[in-house]
């Protein structure tokens, strides 16, 4: 499918075309490294393509992923091989020899236009859009599949010749055969994901027998605009809209029964909350939603607040228990859920119209075989076994695992691992591979000087996202009548490859010289459409995007007529504006290929080391007088790995590395510049001299602060300490610890509170770690862990089970009746409710450990945010550019975040994010040029009155009065803010792309009150 196959010696093999694999491929290709992306299915996309909306922003995913997919297909560095499996690996990191086997598709993807004629005539033979029946063979799993072609189910096809004859493009190949080839790659990333559990095996829930019991993924499909019911919520038995829907969590996970796995699938709690919220959003008081759960595991960044919103704003009912059965309640399809009320022991029934089983992950069927081929170890649960201090490195050097293949996880964490593994894999490539040989080539730009405007208007329906509210045909007709509009048409998902092709062809056929897209936000999609214009030989700035989705259809869903009228206005505005646009040239500058890493903890050091290893100069600035950060106070991880040894090794490597300069006692004071050419100033103690560092990118790894509370006698009684201090005590005073009889731990102290509403994520595991560690040296010790929800996500559940098995007593408390702690001699008296027994208990504890968790290091993040102009969350953590799809990029280009400065996380997770940040940084640093865009201030020297207003107004001191007596603005220094343009009293300055003419034209277009 691609003319120039990457030189395979220098490529990375990525197995799995889900979101993780795609992200890793995109990162590597952005860093100009070649990628071979294989997937056993006919199209890439993975599970994500079946989701409707994702948490926590409730965005539709198709649109956020689609640009990635289309971009992925276009990237010259990526060789996409669908229907392909790995059948052999030899050699070692840096030089693997791999064998790939590609199954026959029977369709030439280069010729197939996805016209659908073959599917119409022979629906049985062709793989097509999935219905709710998840068992149906799927290929074109969603309407914007990449590669954009059908495939043939050969085994079901009896009359191939007739089939082949229906294809007008002649794309059907009867004699297509499996191909095997050997290639050389430097590294391998395994991103095969996992399977979604099918709950037929759970006979108590009746799945497969009771039509109205569905899995959460099926529910997602039912709610999806591109799903089988086109977004109508209908229960499968009779197509009626349900009035009561229940979710049952942990279906098949966290269990010991037949068909169940013991680990936690990590994502199901958020998944169920999301589905319940979206349902409530759509149907409000017409529907009741109930979630049956054991522990609500909303441990991710801002997830706890999402949980609280579900409860408080959306009135999602939450019922803590594990139902033991679902049986039919009536002949019409209603269902009865039976459960034992927590603490009462009585059996209760509730009736629902529909029940959703929150089914989690199962290791992919291919994973055992694949692991054998790769020569990597799997853990007891058949997921990839990886390192404690490098969670994406498998047991075989040069092979990395990311995403759910490593452990169950959600999309942002998958993307972090994908970027991390891309970073680490990139290290094994020969330097030659990074040479820039294959930048995208565009046809020469057409000269449109003197042409009258010829505008093409393309209106997206974005599935139901736009057309669900806006009358798209009406808007298209209207746009067709606007001045200079030559063609107006709807394009479905405008950002899909198919639509982009249509746009490109239309530009050529109709000799368009300007384009208006009625679609989503230009913030996210402008570059994609600009790229399409360039491919059509148009200057990319001959484009206007009317944001008729995010700023219209989505916000006026309750007023379709108004939304349609506004869509017309916005398109009229865009088209009036685009008439005044003119070709512009981007300004390109040289890039400083060094990085500044702020924060010398584990995250900062790992990011620095990875960059240094890949030959970039790194300045590692630390405010304290020594490296190490918070990890200096940690002795072991939950799996028993030795933190001090790791840390001293890491610090040694960092200090010794020739590409790293460590700057201690450095206080950030100022910052200026642009991505690729930043200047950041530090005041260095104790001499307090000033030093300015020039760098291309910045990684923030300043960490979070251990929380400390004034509660439960902490700092007032010697028997009370934090969980981290307890770890210290176990390590340094084993004798003392071995004398103890009772230890109590209280969870969520200072987290999940009004002051600090989020979950600190690490406390549950830290408590269990310390409990098990204590039991190692003192097996008779009584340990009570008082918790609200145990959040031992993924395989951490194993340790939770082990702790229970070894006698740790877990007692749940509610924030309304927290434990009471009183001093009692050398120990403390802890009184708490025991809900199972329904009574109060008092324990005389020799030690009370409080899980105080993290809070953001407000002092440092506030200063940094101010100096760097970065955004923070309400609780003071750095806010990434996109919580879902850009988890380490900051909103300011050239900034990346790693570690607990982003959100609470454990050491392994911090290291992964550090690697991811380094990988993302490399995508910037690997280029030697930076594009400043075309938005710069330009002076009309004839008009300039040399009044100096611009000279004084410019925040960057760029304009000056030159020898020819007019104000001169160096486009390479101009940041494009436009302040000078709006202050110039002679109207001599125009900010390109925002000149007076298009701005006024837009106003006139918008406000012309004729519809």
């Amino acid at each position: 499918m691609k003319a120039n196959r990457p030189s395979d010696h220098h490529a990375v093999l990525i197995i799995g075309g889900g979101i993780g694999g795609i992200k890793a491929a995109l990162d590597l290709s952005e860093a100009r490294k070649d990628v071979i992306l294989i997937d056993k299915s006919p199209a890439i996309g993975g599970v994500l393509t079946q989701l409707d909306r994702t948490f926590p922003t409730n965005n539709c995913d198709i649109c956020t992923l689609s640009p990635n997919l289309s971009a992925g297909a276009r990237q010259k560095h990526i060789d996409l091989m669908p229907l392909t499996q790995l059948t052999g690996v030899e050699g070692e990191a840096g030089n693997f020899t791999i064998t790939l086997t590609t199954a026959p598709r029977y369709i030439d993807t280069e010729k197939c236009t996805a016209c659908g004629l073959c599917l119409d005539k022979f629906p049985k033979y062709i793989r097509f859009t999935p219905g709710l029946d998840h068992r149906a063979p799927t290929c074109m799993r969603y309407p914007r599949v990449t590669p954009h072609a059908f495939s043939v189910k050969r085994d079901q096809c009896s009359d191939f010749e007739t089939l082949a004859s229906v294809c007008p493009a002649g794309a059907i190949i009867q004699g297509d055969k499996a191909k095997t080839r050997q290639l050389h790659v430097g590294a391998i990333i395994v991103a095969v994901g996992a399977d979604v559990f099918s709950p037929e095996a759970l006979d108590n829930y009746g799945y497969g027998k009771l039509p109205n019991v569905v899995t959460s993924l099926e529910y997602e499909r039912i709610m999806s605009a591109s799903g089988p019911t086109f977004g109508e919520l209908q229960r499968p038995s009779d197509g009626c809209q349900p009035r009561r829907v229940a979710w049952i969590q942990c279906a098949g996970s966290r269990g010991q029964n037949k068909g169940e796995v013991s680990y936690c699938s990590s994502v199901c709690c958020m998944f169920a909350l999301k589905e319940a919220i979206v349902t409530k959003e759509r149907f409000k008081e017409d529907i009741e939603t109930t979630i049956f759960y054991m522990d609500m595991r909303t441990f991710g960044k801002d997830y706890e607040m999402y949980y609280q919103r579900a409860k408080e704003d959306y009135h999602v009912r939450l019922k803590r228990c594990r139902p033991h059965s679902i049986i039919p309640a009536d002949p019409d399809g209603a269902l009865k859920i039976s459960y034992v009320e927590d603490g009462f022991g009585t059996l209760e029934d509730e009736t629902y119209d529909m029940v959703v089983l929150a089914t989690g992950f199962r290791p992919s069927a291919e994973s055992t075989g694949l692991a054998k081929v790769l020569g990597i170890e799997l853990n007891d649960h058949c997921y990839a076994r990886t390192g404690s201090f490098n969670p994406v490195a498998t047991s075989r050097p040069g092979i990395y695992a990311c995403g759910v293949f490593e452990a169950p996880k959600d999309i942002p964490e998958t993307l972090v691992q994908a970027s991390a593994s891309a970073c680490l894999a990139g290290k094994h490539l020969l330097p030659a591979a990074t040479a820039d040989s294959t930048e995208p080539v565009y046809p020469p730009e057409k000269d449109i000087t003197g042409e009258l405007p010829r505008i093409g208007v393309f209106v997206c329906d974005c599935g139901q996202n736009i057309s669900g509210t806006v009358d798209v045909p009406d808007v298209v007709n209207y746009a067709g009548l606007l001045p200079h509009v030559v063609v107006s048409r709807s394009v479905g998902y405008g950002c899909s490859r198919e639509s982009l092709d249509i746009i490109r062809k239309t530009i050529a056929d109709k000799k368009l010289n300007r384009v208006v897209i009625g679609g989503c936000s230009p913030r996210t999609h402008e570059s994609l459409f600009q790229d399409t214009l360039m491919q059509a030989g148009l200057n990319k700035y001959m484009l206007e995007i009317a944001n008729i989705r995010d700023q219209n259809a989505w916000v006026h869903a309750d007023r379709p007529e108004d939304a349609t009228r506004k869509a017309k206005e916005l398109i009229r505005m865009a088209s009036a504006g685009v008439v005044e646009s003119h070709p512009l040239i981007d300004h390109i500058l040289e890039l400083n290929q060094s990085a500044l890493v702020i924060g010398g903890g584990v995250s900062g050091m790992n990011a620095a080391l990875e960059l240094a290893e890949q030959n970039y100069t790194v300045y590692l600035a630390e405010q304290a007088g020594e490296l190490g950060g918070l990890a200096r106070q940690i002795h072991r991880t939950i799996d028993g790995s030795d933190v001090p040894t790791y840390l001293s090794g890491l610090m040694g490597e960092v200090r010794a590395h020739k590409n790293i300069e460590v700057i201690l006692n450095a206080v950030l004071v100022d910052h200026e510049g642009l991505p690729g050419m930043f200047k950041t100033g530090f005041q260095i103690a104790p001499q307090m001299y000033y030093r300015q560092i020039e760098h291309g990118v910045t990684i923030l790894a300043v960490g979070a602060a251990p929380n400390r509370v004034d509660d439960y006698l902490l700092d007032k009684h010697e028997a009370v300490c934090t969980q981290m201090e307890l770890g210290n005590l176990i390590h340094t005073a084993p004798d003392k610890v071995s004398d103890w009889e009772n230890v109590v731990m209280i969870q969520c102290v200072g987290s999940r509170t009004p002051d600090n509403p989020n979950c600190s994520r690490i406390c549950c595991q830290a408590a269990i770690k310390n409990a098990l560690w204590l039991l190692d040296s003192n097996p008779d010790l009584n340990i009570y862990i008082l918790y609200r929800d145990m959040r031992t996500y993924g395989f951490l559940e194993d340790y939770y089970l082990e702790a229970r098995r070894r006698g740790v007593i877990f007692v749940r408390y509610t924030p309304e009746s927290p434990p009471v702690v009183e001093a009692g001699g050398a120990g403390v008296h802890v009184t708490f409710n025991e809900p199972m027994l329904g009574m109060k208990l008092m324990v005389v504890a020799d030690c009370l450990a409080l899980s105080t968790g993290f809070k953001s290091d407000d002092e440092s993040t506030e200063d940094l945010a101010k100096i760097f102009h970065l955004t923070r969350t309400g609780d003071g953590y750095f806010l990434e550019d996109h919580t879902k799809l850009k988890p380490v990029d900051m909103s300011v280009p050239g900034f990346f975040v790693a570690g607990t400065a982003h959100s609470p996380k454990n050491i392994g997770e911090s290291i992964t994010q550090a690697h991811a940040a380094a990988g993302r940084a490399i995508t910037v640093l690997s280029r030697n040029l930076i594009n400043m865009g075309a938005s710069v201030a330009q002076v009309d020297k004839e008009r300039c009155a040399t009044c100096l207003v611009c000279v004084r107004a410019c925040p960057y001191d760029v304009p000056f009065i030159n020898e020819d007596r007019y104000s001169e603005i160096d486009p390479s220094k101009c940041h494009g803010c436009g302040t000078c343009a709006s202050e110039c009293p002679a109207q001599a300055i125009q900010l390109t792309r925002f000149e007076d003419r298009p701005m006024m034209a837009k106003l006139e277009g918008l406000l012309e009150r004729k519809l």
Binding site: T57, N58, N59, E281, S521, P522, R523, T524, N547, R549, D550, Q551, N552, W554, V555, H556, A557, D558, R559, D562, A563, R565, K566, E569, L570, M573, K866, H869, T871, T873, L879, S891, V892, S935, A953, P955, Y956, H975, G976, C977, G978, T979, A981, S982, E983, L991, F994, D996, M999, M1000, K1002, L1003, E1004, L1006, L1007, E1008, R1009
Partner: protein, 148 residues
Amino acid sequence: MEEFDPVIVAYCCHYCAYTAADMAGSMRLGYPPGIKIIRVPCTGKVDPLHVMRALMDGADGVLIAGCLKGDCHFKNGNIKALKRTAYLKQWMDEIGIESERVEMVMMSAGMGKQFVRIVTDFLDNIRLLGPCPKNTNQQSNRILSELV
């Protein structure tokens, strides 16, 4: 009498308010359709003339939405916009148009909810003020631009 639906032109900074508006969209938080957003790279780019022309061409109110103080992507564009808004209000007073028809607001990119509240409040306030007086005259005035 027909309910008056004000038309508001909201000049939104790409780095904050425009993003907040998108976020309001992804959170599906509704606001009146009379809010029409025009994207600018910085509120420092909002030319007083563009605000005047918006009111002249039929807007009932103009909102300039920029970053929080100290958060301007370009150091101080939002502060300049704030001063310019005060200057514009003087013009409004002189013309005899309620100066509340032009306001500057500040928010961060993450403030989708606040965006909705702010634009809704602003529009409600304009609704109370009634149509921008000029709009009683439907004949749009043309300016013969200079031919230099």
